[in-house]
Symmetry: C2
Subunit: 151 residues, 2 copies
């Protein structure tokens, strides 16, 4: 409804990494297994996050991915601007390329406040906060694997 699968994987992975001890690289394989997500595809996504400075990567034994120093407070919005593209915040709900207060679609003035709430939420939430929530054990980062459901 709002985010592409790529974005969902990216956010899940970043939150998971943020729950792990800082400075200890986390394996792509472990993240993928934990999130129940295709490993090769996740690797691409993590590489992209590296390229844009959110993660550090290390090869070879003891390798893996770490949140880059100072990135724990990164707001979700910053992640989504990378994974969804820079126009993420600019969208008109009817798809008009040019929809502003001056050139409004018929939904513009009702949609705008809701959209602002969405953007405020995404700007407000950061990785550390979400990681802490997960660490309380009260929240899930991924669907339970079938094995777990079956016992």
């Amino acid at each position: 409804m709002v985010l592409s699968r790529t974005s969902q994987y990216a956010v899940q992975a970043l939150i998971y990494i943020a729950t792990q001890p800082a400075g200890e690289p986390v394996l792509n394989r472990d993240i993928a297994e934990r999130l129940n997500v295709p490993a090769a595809y996740l690797a691409k996504i993590l590489q992209n996050l590296c390229k844009h400075g959110l993660l550090d990567s290390f090869r070879g034994r003891l390798g893996g991915f770490c949140l880059r120093e100072g990135m724990h407070r990164t707001p979700l919005m910053q992640v989504l601007l990378l994974t969804e593209g820079p126009d993420f915040t600019k969208s008109c709900i009817l798809g008009l390329k040019d929809c502003s207060d001056a050139t409004a679609c018929p939904m513009h003035f009702k949609w705008l406040p809701v959209k602002k709430k969405i953007l405020a939420l995404l700007n407000d939430m950061n990785l550390e906060e979400l990681a802490k929530a997960v660490m309380t054990g009260k929240y899930r980062l991924a669907d339970l694997p079938v094995a777990a459901v079956q016992g």
Copy 2:
């Protein structure tokens, strides 16, 4: 950010039809031209809306598409459930298949009120209301064609 292109075309077309005199079929060609949208693709979308009872269609000369009797007050949500699928309202922002108050993702309780606002908005707005807004001339249903911009 929220709607597929198909949904956007569907909503735009329905609003446009609602601005036209009731009972006089509107040509697919005219709608497509007005909205600046591929005609053959729009036709398939309109056929789908017919099949689900939102529109009536008439073949041959004097043919075209009409809003079915009593459908002027159709809320947008009803359209989107057809074009986006019945799971449209059920989505977790992180993509979890099972995300409820009891099995929440770490964003669940912050996202839920925003999502409710979105759903309330889509349930509240109906075709007739949007059509009237367009008829005032203050709002745009489609981007201006390049020709119009160039004068």
